[in-house]
Each structure stands twice: as structure tokens, then as C-alpha cells.
């Protein structure tokens, strides 16, 4: 950390990590930083909240969600919505232009459609096409599996993995899904209702480089100071009383 008391005063949880230091963020910090970064990279506020949710969820399950989100945002930066979203049809959810789909948009949309005919229901199989940073789908699919009592399977050309809301499966998720992109198909079958696993995993650390990269996206949401903004920010009276 900085020992210089003059280079500080960030009104929010912007940490002061550097070099190759591990960066142990709280879940709240991870969610807050990722929300702002996602907004800075062009997501709507409501979608950026979902990005914050997904990244913090992964942190609380021992996976460096912020670094995966960073990797995705760096690829998706500047792309139009149409190049990032799935085209929802009864048979396939591939992107129209066959671009890698944003895992946040896809995860959210799978949840939004969970109880609709086009959605992921038992004995349904949906080709998703290429999905960017696919591990970011896991928080959404786990919620979906718990809520609708589903056992969800993701499959790709050389592998599959099953999500049932059990803690043990997350390590496997990291190993299999912690990659730049995968050509995925999702399917589901009925499962026994289960409750979220109560065992707590230590929070994952992220890296100083990720924090710096996410901060530079986040700073796009801020307004440069002006004389007017400084003047109206605080008290007009002295604090030495």
C-alpha cells in the first residue's frame, strides 16, 4: 500500500495494489468495481449490475471473477449490442453474426427466459454458439439450477460439465470453463431440489493488473472536476470550529 498520505482519497473502494501483488477484494468491492467497469465498457446500468453480481459470486466461490470479466470486457469493448447478444429462437440461441456472445447478457437472458417456452427447460437442448469467458455463465446457471431444480449440462466439442448448485462442481468449472471462449450447447434435466451449499470457500484474490484494468474502464463513468463541481461539493464553512 501507499505510505504517502497525499496520493489517496478515493471516495470508493479503489484499492492501491501494484505490480504482481495479489489483490484480496471483498465481494462488495469486487461487485462495485465490476459494475462500474462494465458500465464504463458500455453495458446498460441494469446489465452492469449483473456483471457485478457474477464477478462477486465467483470471488465468493474461490474463482477470480474480476479477471475473467476484465478479459471479456477488453474483447467486447466498443462492440454493438447486436454483436454481443444471443438471438433467441425456439431451436438455437446463437448470435446472428456468429460472434462470441457476452456471458453476462447470455446468463441474464437464460434466467429471464427460464419459465418461458424458448427457455432452458427439462429435456431441452439449446445451441449457444461461441461464448466469451464462459465461466461467467456459472453464477447464472447455478441460480437457475437451484430455482427451477434443474441439472444443467454445458457441452462443447471436447468436453462437458454439469451444474447442480453443488460446491464441488465449481473447481471443475474453473478448470474447464476458465478459457477465452467455447462453442457451447446447454441442456437440462429435472433434478432433486437442493439448497445452496453452506460451506464457505475463501474469497478468491484478483490481481493488481486486473484491478488497474477494471479501474480504467470504471473511470469512463466519471466526470472530470470543474470549478463548479468542486465548489458545490462540501460545506462552505470552515471545519476548524
Amino acid at each position: 500500500m501507499s505510505m504517502d498520505p497525499h496520493d489517496q482519497t478515493r471516495g470508493d473502494s479503489t484499492p492501491f495494489f501494484s505490480d504482481d501483488q495479489p489483490a484480496p477484494l471483498s465481494c462488495n468491492e469486487a461487485a462495485s468495481l465490476c459494475l462500474k467497469a462494465a458500465r464504463g465498457a458500455g453495458m446498460s446500468w441494469g446489465m452492469a449490475e449483473e456483471a457485478g453480481f457474477a464477478a462477486a459470486w465467483l470471488v465468493s466461490h474461490g474463482i477470480d471473477g474480476p479477471s475473467y470479466l476484465r478479459a471479456h470486457l477488453e474483447r467486447a469493448d466498443g462492440k454493438d449490442w447486436d454483436d454481443l447478444c444471443p438471438l433467441v429462437t425456439p431451436t438455437t440461441w446463437r448470435n446472428t453474426a456468429d460472434q462470441p456472445v457476452c456471458p453476462i447478457i447470455l446468463g441474464v437472458t437464460l434466467c429471464d427466459y427460464a419459465d418461458l417456452p424458448e427457455g432452458l427447460r427439462p429435456n431441452i437442448c439449446i445451441p449457444l454458439g461461441f461464448v466469451s469467458a464462459p465461466i461467467l455463465l456459472v453464477p447464472f446457471l447455478t441460480e437457475l439450477s437451484l430455482r427451477n431444480s434443474l441439472s444443467i449440462t454445458l457441452s462443447w466439442p471436447h468436453g462437458t460439465m454439469c451444474i447442480e448448485g453443488k460446491e464441488s462442481s465449481f473447481e471443475a468449472a474453473l478448470h474447464l470453463l476458465g478459457t477465452l471462449q467455447l462453442d457451447l450447447t446447454v441442456s437440462a434435466k429435472d433434478a432433486q431440489p437442493c439448497r445452496p451449499n453452506a460451506t464457505s470457500t475463501p474469497n478468491a484474490h484478483t490481481t493488481a493488473a486486473t484491478v488497474a484494468a477494471l479501474n480504467s474502464f470504471a473511470m469512463r463513468t466519471t466526470v472530470p472536476a470543474s470549478a463548479a463541481s468542486r465548489a458545490s461539493a462540501g460545506s462552505t464553512l470552515s471545519d476548524n470550529d
Partner: protein, 558 residues
């Protein structure tokens, strides 16, 4: 913790005030602390449970520099405030988030800190935002002296005198905190990880505990310095004088967005308070002890109103209203007929017809005060499981979404957002300090980076889209076509079953007063003597009149 809806007898439900009345800025900006305020919830628990409180470490030199540890301990948990006392030159003292050094800095440690923990904290806590704390810490805070009163009290005590009562009343605290961070800020423990503990289930309990222990520290440090200066002549503060001291707090716009960003939490705070009022009004008789309790509370409120100073024109007017209204309440009580069938409701309805918002909201606090047995359980319902209402119901039809907008957001749809005065302001985050600020749309840059805090306009924009959208389609399809409305759709679905979730006013209007948002939140904290220093910056006092750690056991539940 329980976040279920509080039990509501049918009779009491009849007496609930509607959101259209409660959730207006003018009324929220007249809020008073009640026995459901968070610091009162904390004091009740500390007074009634098996909590041992001591100060195991006091390592402070003759200049008042060093550290101390204050410990609160039960069979299950220990919480330790680690306090660092500094020697701060006057020119570095600022209450703003832009300050870089303080008279004292603090963290609430989860457990008993080891010397290694203290050493780690000493390397970080004094630097506040530029330091890091860990999941072993629950809060991070700092405080500055009230230079005038601190100096006066040191001088008086060191010379063997008690401080001047007039000086004490004029300020009311030795130090004021300028930030108390919790909930995972700067690496601290996440709220989700501690919210299951019964003593932390109500909102802001670690923050309130931090401030209450800081209050003890402010007295210890002033007595310590006086003793160092005065030697054998020095005396301690009289217990009655000490009791009057609270901890000041200085806060600005940064706090305002909180209640807008946490609609379920805001709903639960309001719901608890409104349910309490409804239960009191629904009583079919008044017992003597409750009437006596009301009169005692009125006497205390009258004293508080007399001591309450502000130079801000808005608050000066409100204080005038409050003092007059408290006199009116006193006159009414002198001849009040308590034998009618709904005496508390009669009193309330008289107040609604007679008093200003200041007086009405003060009357609410007074009426709750003698009814602990009837309403204190509602404190259990003031937390919120926000994750439970985060997920959007994509299967809802657009027609249903539209109906919710038309019923729950009629107040918002009625605002004309084409007139300059209704879009005069915009909320944004400053690049310089990452603090929320409020800009003037016509004259300042940055409106394209507006924060989504004007829920009324977002709801109106959503409504415009929905009017032109196939209403047989599901919300999921609407959001795939219009991702820009995801934020507003989530709010609207929350508001559908959380009636007090929204501040029902235009938060970017030219005449909007941010201090109204601040006062609402601070009243829930339990803050007294709300003193605006501008229309977006305010000072308050916390814990004035409350017991100190060495008194709370003897006094039992407050």
C-alpha cells in the same frame, strides 16, 4: 436473520399511512429518530444482554498520540475498536473525503486483536482510503476534533475545573466522525458474512457500535491530555456533563444515493416504522404508564429542540415550526381525553390536522417511545435480503409491467420531464475524488455520464417504451430488445411488492434539496440535531444523552 413481513393485525393495517404520503421528500426531510433507529436498537441490545465492555489497551503518550483498544464481549463474540490517536496540525483538518489526515482513526476488529494485528492496522488504518484492511475488520472510521470544544475541555479539566456548560451545549461533541465505512469497503468483511449474527442483523449495527465506542474514546483522550497537562490538578469530566456529549458526524452527498440504491432496504425501514405507528394508533385504550412515557418523551424532545441550533435558513424555519408544534402538543396533552375508543389515533389525527411535517414526524417518534413492548420486535424486520429480489421475473407480461407502472409509479408518470426545471440537475461521480456530486445540467458538462438516481425519469422512459411494445410479450423479450431498461424494470418489479421502496419525488428537479435524503437516512441512524451546512452538507450528533460503556449495564435496557 428474519426479513419476513412483520405481523400485521387487520386492525393495525387499517392505520398504515400510504406511501404517497410517507415517501415524499418534504416529509422524509422532516424525519426524527425513533426507538426503532439503529443506535437505539444497538443500545437496547447492549443494555439487556450479557455483554462485557472494557478497555484492555491504552498506550497513549503525554501529547495524546498512541492507540487504545475498546472491547465488547459476549459468550459467542468479541468486537474490539482499535483507536489510533494522532497529532494533527490545524491546517490539515477537513471533514471532506478529500482530507488526508485526521485527529483519530479507527477500525472495529472482529475478535481480540493480537499485537501483530495492531501492528498491521497501525500501518493501514491511519491512511484510511489509502490503506487496506481485511476480513477480520468490520469498519474503518476517522474523526476530527471540534477544535473549540476540545481545547476548552482540555484547558478546564487540566486546571481542575469542569467545562463551561454553554460551550458544551453549543457544540455537543468532542470529535466528529467524517466517515464510518463498513460492508466490505477497503477490504473489510462483507456484510453477508456477518449478517447472520443476531446482534448484527439489524442495519448498520457495526457502524453504530463503532461510533458508540468512539464516543468513549473521545472522553478518554480529552481526560488523558488534561491529566498530562495538569498533573495532580487535573480532574475528570463530571458524569452528568459527560453524558451530554455525543459524537458529531459530518456528511455530504455521498450518503444521499444510498437510500435510492437500496429500495428493498428503504422499504423495510419505512415499513417497520409505519407498522409501529399503525399498531400504536390501533390501540383501543391508553394505559397510565404509556401516557406518562409520552409526556417524558415530550419533555426530552422539547429540551432537544431548544438546544438544537442551525444557521441554515431552511433548518431555521423548520426549527421554528418544530418548537411551536411541540408547544401545541403539550397544550393538547394537557386537556386530552384519553378515555375515547381510539385515543392514540385521535391524538395522531389531531396532529395531522394541526401540525407541520416537522411536528407530525416528531409526534410519531413521541408516540412510539412508550410502546417498546408493542413495537420493538419490528427491529427484526429492518434488514434486507437484497439478493432475493435481484433476479428479474422475465415471464411477467409487458401488460402486467405496464399496470405496475401505472399504479405504483403514477407519481413519476405525472412529472413533465420536458421542462428545464424538472431536469435541472444530474447526479454523477467526480473523476477527481470518486464521490457522488450533483451538477447543473444547463451549465455543467458531464450529463451524458448521469447516474441512474432519478428513478422517476427512468420509469417514465420505460413507460414510453412499454406503450409502444406488444403487451402480450414477456418482459424477457422486452429486455432483449431494450437492455437500457433493465435497471428500471428491476425497480418496478421490486416496487410491486415493496410499497415504500421509492422516494416519490423528482430527484433532479431544480428545487430538490439533497439534505432531505440525508435527514431521512440519518434519522434512521438515530441522529439528533440535524444541522445543514449547505443544501448538500450536514452535521449531526449521535449518542448524545446515551449511556457510556461504564453505565450501560447498571441502566439495563434503554
Amino acid at each position: 436473520m428474519s426479513v419476513t413481513t412483520p405481523n400485521m393485525a387487520f386492525e393495525a393495517a387499517h392505520f398504515m399511512r400510504p406511501a404517497s404520503e410517507v415517501m415524499r421528500l418534504a416529509r422524509m426531510g422532516s424525519g426524527h429518530p425513533t426507538r426503532l433507529s439503529f443506535l437505539h436498537i444497538l443500545l437496547r441490545r447492549l443494555g439487556s444482554s450479557e455483554w462485557q465492555i472494557d478497555r484492555p489497551v491504552w498506550n497513549v503518550d503525554a501529547n495524546g498520540v498512541g492507540h487504545g483498544v475498546y472491547r465488547v464481549k459476549s459468550a459467542e463474540q468479541t468486537y474490539s475498536l482499535v483507536a489510533f490517536a494522532h497529532d494533527l496540525p490545524d491546517e490539515m483538518r477537513s471533514d471532506r473525503v478529500i482530507a488526508t489526515a485526521w485527529d483519530a482513526t479507527f477500525t472495529l476488529f472482529d475478535g481480540d486483536p493480537t499485537p501483530n494485528d495492531i501492528a498491521r492496522l497501525a500501518d493501514n488504518v491511519p491512511y484510511q482510503e489509502a490503506g487496506r484492511i481485511s476480513s477480520k475488520e468490520l469498519t474503518l472510521a476517522r474523526a476530527n476534533r471540534s477544535v473549540r470544544l476540545f481545547r476548552h475541555v482540555v484547558e478546564a479539566l487540566s486546571q481542575g475545573r469542569q467545562p463551561d456548560a454553554k460551550e458544551m451545549n453549543a457544540v455537543g461533541y468532542l470529535m466528529r466522525t467524517t466517515a464510518v465505512y463498513g460492508s466490505g469497503k477497503f477490504g473489510a468483511s462483507d456484510r453477508d458474512d456477518i449478517a447472520q449474527r443476531p446482534e448484527l442483523a439489524a442495519p448498520f449495527q457495526v457502524e453504530m457500535l463503532t461510533v458508540w465506542l468512539i464516543r468513549a474514546f473521545t472522553v478518554d483522550i480529552v481526560e488523558h491530555i488534561a491529566a498530562a497537562n495538569g498533573g495532580a490538578h487535573a480532574v475528570k469530566l463530571d458524569r452528568d456533563t459527560r453524558r451530554l456529549l455525543g459524537v458529531g458526524n459530518s456528511t455530504g452527498l455521498g450518503m444521499a444515493p444510498f437510500i435510492v440504491r437500496h429500495p428493498v432496504l428503504l422499504n423495510n425501514w419505512m415499513m417497520a416504522r409505519e407498522t409501529a405507528l399503525a399498531r400504536v394508533r390501533a390501540q383501543t385504550s391508553a394505559i397510565a404508564a404509556s401516557i406518562a412515557g409520552l409526556e417524558t418523551a415530550l419533555a426530552a424532545a422539547t429540551l432537544n429542540a431548544a438546544a438544537w441550533h442551525s444557521e441554515h435558513p431552511v433548518q431555521v424555519r423548520k426549527l421554528h415550526d418544530l418548537r411551536r408544534d411541540l408547544d401545541l402538543i403539550a397544550s393538547q396533552l394537557a386537556t386530552f381525553d384519553w378515555t375515547v375508543s381510539l385515543p392514540w389515533n385521535d391524538l395522531w389525527e389531531w396532529g395531522e390536522n394541526t401540525l407541520t411535517y416537522e411536528g407530525q414526524e416528531a409526534l410519531l417518534a413521541l408516540m412510539l417511545e412508550p410502546h417498546g413492548a408493542l413495537i420493538d420486535d419490528l427491529a427484526e424486520h429492518m434488514g434486507a435480503d437484497e439478493a432475493a429480489s435481484f433476479r428479474i421475473n422475465g415471464a411477467m407480461s409487458v401488460a402486467d409491467l405496464r399496470r405496475i407502472l401505472e399504479t405504483e409509479y403514477a407519481w413519476a408518470l405525472a412529472i413533465d420531464f420536458t421542462t428545464p426545471e424538472n431536469i435541472a440537475r444530474f447526479w454523477y461521480v467526480s473523476e477527481e475524488k470518486l464521490e457522488p456530486r450533483l451538477g447543473e445540467r444547463a451549465s455543467e458538462d458531464g450529463a451524458t455520464l448521469e447516474l441512474p438516481l432519478c428513478i422517476a425519469r427512468l420509469a417514465a422512459e420505460l413507460y414510453r417504451t412499454v406503450q409502444n411494445y406488444d403487451e402480450t410479450k414477456p418482459v424477457a423479450a422486452l429486455l432483449l430488445a431494450h437492455p437500457e431498461h433493465r435497471y428500471a424494470v428491476r425497480r418496478v418489479q421490486i416496487a410491486n411488492n415493496h410499497p415504500y421502496a421509492e422516494v416519490q419525488d423528482n430527484l433532479i428537479a431544480a428545487d430538490m434539496l439533497p439534505i432531505d435524503l440525508l435527514r431521512c437516512k440519518l434519522a434512521y441512524f438515530g441522529a439528533s440535531q440535524f444541522d445543514p451546512r449547505s443544501d448538500r452538507w450536514v452535521r449531526i450528533n449521535l449518542f448524545a444523552g446515551a449511556p457510556f460503556p461504564d453505565e450501560i449495564k447498571a441502566e439495563g435496557a434503554v
